[in-house]
């Protein structure tokens, strides 16, 4: 179905360009990050990359800790691929695509150990904060992975806990208490089409990729989570190159999360 489009894209690659004239490792513009965009959320961020537009909100809840980790709070990530944002998205419970997106964002944050879950504990074995991070798409024009990971981190960084007194959360009143973050993981997804590697695919490019690799990394270039996607395999040389590109581009995205 996409054979012609794929051939066309590969032909453009041979002359070192892309459908919209970008370089292989260039993000679309505007590339913007706004925080505190939703006043009903404890933390929120909106990321626009080209025509891709997403909002991430964090709600804080108090729950009983898991029995095997009685002194820890946790995070929970959900993604809603809203039918408002793409003609191909349908109403209903999250499908595979949305669940993969949510889980990849979740692991990028969780595995970086940027949040000390023990500090989210209120009373051991009884009460702990759970930060529920929801990703909502306004317009899906490709590369939701990088946009969502960036917005989620920014929302966490700027969130403020609500007032908690006498076993009750008062959502109307935010405290000045922020979430302590040990580090800031940033995710970059590198895509392979033919023998070329690109970042930030638009919807058309995304429809013809052979493979993708999402790499979450820290400022010292430590890798903290990865996910390979796409129908075709990668060689270890491919992976080396893709990780290099991801680390390089992460520096650029990192500047946005001030």
């Amino acid at each position: 179905m996409y054979k012609d489009l794929r051939e066309h894209i590969i032909k453009l690659f041979d002359s070192n360009t892309r459908l919209d004239g970008r370089k292989f490792t260039e993000y679309r513009k505007p590339l913007s990050l706004d925080v505190d965009v939703i006043n009903t959320a404890e933390g929120s961020a909106r990321v626009k990359i080209g025509k891709t537009d997403i909002i991430v909100g964090v709600k804080a809840e108090i729950m009983q800790p898991y029995p095997d980790m009685p002194d820890q709070g946790s995070i929970q990530v959900g993604a809603e691929l809203l039918p408002l944002s793409n003609p191909d998205f349908e109403l209903g419970p999250p499908g595979q695509e949305a669940i993969e997106l949510a889980r990849v964002v979740d692991r990028g944050i969780r595995e970086s150990k940027c949040i000390d879950f023990k500090k989210l504990c209120v009373k051991e074995g009884e009460k702990a904060w759970v930060l529920v991070i929801d990703i909502c798409t306004i317009n899906d024009a490709g590369n939701l992975f990088d946009a969502a990971a960036l917005a989620a981190m920014a929302a966490l960084k700027t969130m403020r806990f609500p007032k908690y007194e006498n076993d009750k959360i008062d959502y109307k009143e935010k405290t000045n208490k922020k979430l302590e973050l040990e580090c800031i993981p940033v995710s970059v997804t590198v895509n392979k089409i033919g023998d070329k590697f690109i970042v930030d695919p638009d919807s058309e490019e995304e429809s013809v990729i052979d493979a993708r690799l999402t790499v979450a990394s820290l400022s010292d270039e430590t890798l903290c989570a990865m996910q390979k996607g796409g129908d075709y395999p990668l060689t270890s040389e491919d992976i080396d190159k893709m990780v290099d590109i991801a680390l390089e581009k992460a520096k650029e995205l990192r500047k946005l999360v001030k």
Partner: protein, 237 residues
């Protein structure tokens, strides 16, 4: 008790601040947002497009589907669980009924027009904001329409009639409250949505609806301006 001054310092017939914009979702055939105070509604229209499964098709006219949804972080209280509730299903239905009279669906046999309303942030009046946004999005999609639909909540707080109740007024405890969401076709002077919760007399209801009509005409002007502005900005590019 007498409700002397509105809690939000507004005049009794004054809405919260309104902001409206059209063409905000590039993927959609038509789109808009409508902000009123802290309540913020996005609407996207897809269609007329093919309707599947086929047995749902109507060869005499197209069908209109509406879906109202609050984003999980949009409530000032607890997180809203995704996936829809009885409340959101009912609002989807009354929204569809509010918009149907302005559409000429006979133009689109066997097709569907999908309207998706999403609320990133809410504080009272969200169904009315959703309807305002949806009607602008339908016009933006270039559908055959007889009119726009403007909506606002009116009602009573204690002894006073008010428009566009905010959260504090909805939950006013020192006297009776009535909340009446109204949608209308401003050029036809007809009402397409009417709900009421609370206590009110026949006479007060009559007055409240008249107030609503007046405000809907103002909202209509804002909607029209937003639609025109889209083409203005395009011309300047």
């Amino acid at each position: 008790m007498v409700y002397k001054e509105r809690l939000g310092k507004r005049k009794f017939d004054e809405t919260r601040e309104i902001e409206a914009k059209v063409g905000v979702i590039p993927n959609a055939d038509g789109s808009a947002y409508f902000k009123i105070g802290n309540t913020w509604a996005y609407a996207a229209v897809y269609g007329p497009r093919n309707l599947h499964p086929k047995f749902l098709q109507d060869p005499s006219k197209g069908i209109l589907r509406c879906n109202y949804n609050m984003m999980p972080f949009s409530s000032s209280g607890e997180r809203v669980r995704p996936g829809g509730s009885r409340r959101s299903k009912e609002i989807s239905l009354v929204t569809q009924k509010a918009l149907l009279p302005v559409l000429d669906l006979e133009e689109y046999p066997n097709s569907v027009v999908d309207v998706f309303i999403e609320l990133p942030q809410t504080e009272a009046g969200s169904r009315c904001a959703g309807i305002c946004a949806a009607s602008m999005a339908l016009a933006d999609a270039g559908l055959a329409m007889r009119d726009l639909v403007a909506a606002v909540s009116v009602g009573r707080v204690d002894d006073k009639l008010v428009v566009d109740l905010d959260y504090k007024e909805e939950s006013y405890e020192d006297g009776p409250v009535a909340d009446i969401p109204v949608a209308m076709m401003p050029n036809h002077d007809k009402i397409t949505l009417l709900q009421m919760d609370g206590l009110i007399s026949k006479e007060q209801l009559k007055k409240a609806i008249e107030m609503g009509k007046k405000v809907c005409k103002d909202i209509y002007e804002i909607q029209k301006k937003a639609l025109k502005d889209k083409y203005k900005t395009n011309a300047n590019k």
